[in-house]
Subunit: 682 residues, 3 copies
Amino acid sequence: MINSKLPFILYGGDYNPDQWPKDVIKEDIRLLKLANINVVTLPVFSWALLQPDEETYNFEWLDNILNLLKDNDIYVCLATSTAAQPAWMSRRYPEVLPVDFDGHKRKHGGRVKFCPNSKVYRKFSVTLTRKLVERYKNYDNLILWHIGNEYDNYCYCDNCEKEFREWLKKKYKTLDKLNKAWNMNFWGHTLYNWDEIFSPSGLNEMWHGEDKTSTTFQGMALDYNRFMSDSILDCYLGEYRAIKEITPNIKITTNLMGTFKPLDYFKWAEHMDIVSWDNYPSYGADPATIAMSHDLMRGLKNGEPFMLMEQTPNQANWQPYNSVKRPGELRLQSYQTLAHGADSIMFFQMRQSIGACEKYHGAVISHSGSENTRVFKEWKRLGEELHSLGDEILDSKIDSKVAIIFDWDNWWAIEFSSGPSVKLKYIPQIEKYYKAFYKKNISVDFVKPTADLSKYSIVVAPILYMLKNNVSNNIKNFVSKGGTFITTFFSGYVDENDRVKLGGYPSELRDLLGIWVEELDALPLEINNILQMNSTLNGFDLEYKCNMLFDIINLEGAIPLALYGSDFYKGRPVFTINSYGEGDAYYIGSDPDSKFVDDLVGFLDSNYSLSLDFEPNEGVEITKRRKNDKEIFFILNHNKDSVNLNLKDYSYVNLLTKEKVFSKITLKGMDLAILRKLANND
Amino acid sequence: MINSKLPFILYGGDYNPDQWPKDVIKEDIRLLKLANINVVTLPVFSWALLQPDEETYNFEWLDNILNLLKDNDIYVCLATSTAAQPAWMSRRYPEVLPVDFDGHKRKHGGRVKFCPNSKVYRKFSVTLTRKLVERYKNYDNLILWHIGNEYDNYCYCDNCEKEFREWLKKKYKTLDKLNKAWNMNFWGHTLYNWDEIFSPSGLNEMWHGEDKTSTTFQGMALDYNRFMSDSILDCYLGEYRAIKEITPNIKITTNLMGTFKPLDYFKWAEHMDIVSWDNYPSYGADPATIAMSHDLMRGLKNGEPFMLMEQTPNQANWQPYNSVKRPGELRLQSYQTLAHGADSIMFFQMRQSIGACEKYHGAVISHSGSENTRVFKEWKRLGEELHSLGDEILDSKIDSKVAIIFDWDNWWAIEFSSGPSVKLKYIPQIEKYYKAFYKKNISVDFVKPTADLSKYSIVVAPILYMLKNNVSNNIKNFVSKGGTFITTFFSGYVDENDRVKLGGYPSELRDLLGIWVEELDALPLEINNILQMNSTLNGFDLEYKCNMLFDIINLEGAIPLALYGSDFYKGRPVFTINSYGEGDAYYIGSDPDSKFVDDLVGFLDSNYSLSLDFEPNEGVEITKRRKNDKEIFFILNHNKDSVNLNLKDYSYVNLLTKEKVFSKITLKGMDLAILRKLANND
Amino acid sequence: MINSKLPFILYGGDYNPDQWPKDVIKEDIRLLKLANINVVTLPVFSWALLQPDEETYNFEWLDNILNLLKDNDIYVCLATSTAAQPAWMSRRYPEVLPVDFDGHKRKHGGRVKFCPNSKVYRKFSVTLTRKLVERYKNYDNLILWHIGNEYDNYCYCDNCEKEFREWLKKKYKTLDKLNKAWNMNFWGHTLYNWDEIFSPSGLNEMWHGEDKTSTTFQGMALDYNRFMSDSILDCYLGEYRAIKEITPNIKITTNLMGTFKPLDYFKWAEHMDIVSWDNYPSYGADPATIAMSHDLMRGLKNGEPFMLMEQTPNQANWQPYNSVKRPGELRLQSYQTLAHGADSIMFFQMRQSIGACEKYHGAVISHSGSENTRVFKEWKRLGEELHSLGDEILDSKIDSKVAIIFDWDNWWAIEFSSGPSVKLKYIPQIEKYYKAFYKKNISVDFVKPTADLSKYSIVVAPILYMLKNNVSNNIKNFVSKGGTFITTFFSGYVDENDRVKLGGYPSELRDLLGIWVEELDALPLEINNILQMNSTLNGFDLEYKCNMLFDIINLEGAIPLALYGSDFYKGRPVFTINSYGEGDAYYIGSDPDSKFVDDLVGFLDSNYSLSLDFEPNEGVEITKRRKNDKEIFFILNHNKDSVNLNLKDYSYVNLLTKEKVFSKITLKGMDLAILRKLANND
């Protein structure tokens, strides 16, 4: 449980009373209570108010707010307010201002980025945090700490450059090792002095091509990303340690951003007590895409319940077309969050700003101030409903037989690569495989490549381009003990420094997969080839289209399951299976249409019984959370029209209506049920 | 009259003898006389020649030119030559060079921009102006002063930043007021010292999204635009005052640029003796778009006759496709200018340059130097024709019953907004309403929101997003006395600092319009909704398409005239009317197709008899100028083919042919008539 | 012959042993021998290894490599390794780092550009070169010097600015001449001091419009391009002179890049002993486009045999879609190179890098290290085949009756122009005319405008916008003696400083062409006009489409061959012929579709018998090389399917199969023949 003081699903979100006069705040409290809010997050952006100059701190206004909240039984996720430094700091210490990718020193303003290696920033942020914790460590309604906000601040300043050199010295010890790791003899870049290292940026190593940011030295660029992710994490950790020292029993988090490329969230999650994230789907977003982000965030801490820290109650303001949420959409998206393992439903924000760029971002309390808006009324009803669930689903978990390997290093390396195709991107490949499982209501865990795979039946690793230490052994061990492994083109190419593993692709996976990839053809997306399937395979069509990349494969033990249908490699294998120990390893040597992946998952499902015991129904998402022997099913109807679901011979209680259901259930459009399975004797 | 020395329509334009040797200039004079030129503008870009170094001035060459012009009875619009500082100044005083939006210090060159807050620039420009005025104050053929040229030079240098702080101190007095006006507690931007204010630019507050430049603090960005518009105006005013002191009776102007966003021309026009502007339509430009710019320019000084300072005699050089003007196009566009209230027809330029970027810009005297070109011959004929008009139309005015509210602050605020839709732009909305009137030959005045509206029957204010002081009262006063007011979605949101007026949109207009806009939905443009019209309304179709933005409206007294046809707000009102005092207020809550606006104008016309007493004819534009009791009609046939016009029972004299016309008139393709109405006894 | 030590077609290419350990190098040698390699290029990017710091040089590793190569009878094209300065140099002497077009000082990294006017760079590069030459001047297997690599480094730093002023002083002597040449009175840019000259860049004179980089002062921008081309050439020349002093008999080259805009290769070629270039066609590139680049490179030194220095053995890495070469494609493209006059087939590179941005660029020895790859086998076979040709075609030349005038100054000037159309580009116009000849297997020479034209029957000069000194006389001389000249719209406009030649376009060509172009209309590309042909012309259709630009022409002696079919210039001439002396001059006043140009070439061919004595066959390219009285025909089948060629009554020996062929020959898809014509008695 996030905090035993509040044994309910957290319901509330960001609140910015620092932008409002007292009478408005008083009215806010009335409305928050009316809407069944039990928690608010604050103060996220109040550094300038808390510390008006270098020597002065001012907490009285915050004391008052916190007392008012306590008096009204509203709990607090207390933020450290360090996401945006005050203007006085930027003016007095310009070193806190970052330099951007193209070499421009930024001026104070905007979302107020700071250089993550600024000693000034670090000193002041930790000091503020310590003062906050000291002051509020005994505050009754404190249930969680929230550090910073949506960290994302890469920097290319001289100070970062110096720290990068130090980081590299620690990692490589000698320049000789560094020159080798980055292959610096290429283009005569051999280094003889640590000071000859410059940050890779738009001023030297990096360039934007069509659809892609590429780089001269992938090893250097990877290390800079790692260094930046670590540097920013260090900012977080300075505050984390200060808090832990004083309030060791209060959980600490910071709000992540789903499939966010710059930060290695697997590494970050090791230092977070609970994962929280911000979910902002666009108009018409596919529910599967949202589900994938939830599952990735759940995977960061091995399936522990996570938090939804932010979503918008209605429209956003920063999207191209800021559509309002359709009736029921807010509720359905909220429950989808729980369905994927979260124990909170939180929003940005409570009251809509009067000015500045987020003023047209939706809020529980709109500019009208009215409790009679559609959105307020939906909020209020949802609050009641969530409250009625009590702690029924809190701390329950999700079981998966399928894992998808996800790796930030791999993502970076693939997209830093110069070649083979500008159209090759990591996330769409991950998504293609994820969605095939999602459509069949097969739960998927996201794991890092070195994770313990023993509990899974199937492990999928789309474009496993980078094989870091022990990754190939980890996978081989899994397969040899009976696991099923699936990977694709552009896998098994490089080590953690993006140095090619010589001797033939996919290098260490060659014996596992029983193939040698001699060449990799890349063609414009409009040029298709055909996967001609071995006709003895059940559940597959005879042909599928494929495009983008085309491996030219020599078999070394694998059995071909499909052959190319055209081009000069017509008749060569493109989809193969290889037996390895007690398991099987599949290889897909081109980018097939999604129907192929769907059918592949269907084929696996028929062999491994992966899906839940419900008949799939277009647009109906079903997940299961388990708590000891309790099984709780979330059945979400994403369709606009109602659907009937066959429940087979089981009985359930619908936790929302408290009614027993048996045999079948009807769900209206955009409606859902949460069914707890009943034992035969219930 | 611009100047009583020249009681004719001014005919001529920019002349750059500083680029040519004497023999060419001599030939120029012969050709200008041949082409019936009566005025030239010069020297627009001769600062470096007039002042070869900091201490030296050289006017002799200009004396010679001016004498030659006088000897040949050509009048002069005398320019101050301060639009481009000499290279020696930029080299000696780098502070005159501006810093661009992205923080780059510019080098000398190009159109030679200067920092508008450079004290050096201001000192030297005023000094030069004063010397010019002293020298030529008694020059007989001087008829007008022309300051600078197409001012447009925003700057982001440190000096401007300092001046911005001073400007803000004057405006806000205290930082507390500033913090509140800009809502600086948002994202922790609270200011404690004036020096913590930085210019909003690409280095901090501003960002480019899809189709749009947005900003963090709209209040700050608005003030920077106002400050820049004022700073540049101060450059103009320094010269203006120097001139007025010495030649108080000669009118002063500077050439504006129509719907030009950076400068608040309403504010500028207060300091101009006569408005002049440069008209450069592209190939295939809609005559209505050109007409709108003329009308906007005329509106800057309450309908006083304005000047066309520049148009091209043939092709431009800076457009993507520099088409030549079709035969007759030059003449028709020139008369359209008169038709909308101008008393001059001037061109850029007299002789085509031999080198540099404008050398392929058309000119009266082309590179061939020939008087036998098509263009020269058209010029010559047009000069004769204009001369034959004498002072017949000089100083006549245009009467309008319809006004469109236009406001630079509003324009800036709408397009600085983050949300609701990247596709929302000010000018296309203005144009949509303007064109509906134009098509019916209904004259429109452009007025600022605080203008006296009492003389109008109808006032249209598309997206009146910002309600500055007294604007709502001004409009309510107009309606309550019987006026008809029309406004649209995204109106009545904010005050002059872009702070939302709380309590429900459209705030102060809520009682006037009888509605409360609860939500504003924004969708991609390809998603349409339907306006289902109340079938009892005459002259409307049953349905129209609408898209982009969709207000969700609660009626508070208004009567719905159309309802949404789809989406979850199907059946909710989208087009309403409300009685207020003796008048009516219409509200259009989505962006309808132009047919709807056309039909709305038709509906208003049938109620208010707005159009001239001619039958509309596709492609035929008709306007009326009035001078005392003389009514002069411009009938412009923009079609390629000839048209017949029914003149009903009136008699006219065609000022071009000097013939009487009665009952009907036939106009060839691209031809026109200027008809003075005859009294029954004429 | 490139070098008499190696009387074979050079076969090999870039080799980078500096990136590899000894055992790999040993294996490389084995594989290179196996693949019949006879030459390698090195060390192209080893400066940092050769000179680890300012005082130290280290050649031992290179000695070892060179000895190993010699022991294995592999010859060496020795590179000076100065293309990328070491990091220590950039750190110690930041002046070597360039400033980019937008004013950003670059940091060390990437392809490591250097400022071409850096004295430090020049000193160090010449010193290194001298040391290399001294050390290896007697190395037996040295056959060629290779300076730098793909020079392309424009710079905009302060140092370049100073040198630009010096360059201008030398050229113009007085500021008065400079002001006149650049027309600096325009926009008041008059210069009074050499220090008032600033480099034209994105910070002042240059701007990017739609599809185009334009500029304020074309004369200045042209001079900056010339200055940069010269500055970079000076870097090359410093090394060239150092080499020539010591090894006067070894040829020297640097690798050019085909239709590469920044450098005036005609001027460069004057200082190269042999032209070499790098050919990287994209997937699906038209063989005609490749052929054109070969012919342009051959033209740089008046038809002397040139070298192919680089092509990829398989995929590239930097293209959007890095396709592998189709079977046979490598061989066919290699022979096409010979067919157009080259005496070498060289590749980048021998072994594929393990890391950095080119690691996915194809190589003879792939990451697999295998000799059993498709590519290695194709290489090996090609090596055998080339070796079997011996010196048969070495030093043979190509005869052409047709020349196309190509001029870098003209190219720059056209694309610096502001107007008439953003779509006007030089290369596509050149290509349109080139391809029409190519399709009929008519050999074309590329010549500069001042070349001796006397040996040609036909000279084509598409958009000969700039007429430098004597160019018009050169052409008139050619025509008056019976030559046929063809030119197009936008010709004869300016002098070498882009100053318009007054008096009517096309100025000095007016009497030659018998026309006066009064106006030039420019319209969006989707607007077509029609060329209505004089029906008496044989081999032409009755009508062709034309678009983009439209001259409005007055005839002054020329005979119209086609008239416009629409717009206001309908019926005016658009395609004309004029007799001049004993020759004819054609003028094409608009941009016709390619069918028109094809038919025009057909028409000329029927009059002048330009094509080889083979029937054209779609997709079959035929060229002829001649060595004394030996005629060698290259017949390249670019089709996927086989073709039959009628050889008429001649006999040949196929140099590849050594068989005699008579009457006809069949070529498989992607196959070729090299036929030496047999005398009747052979």
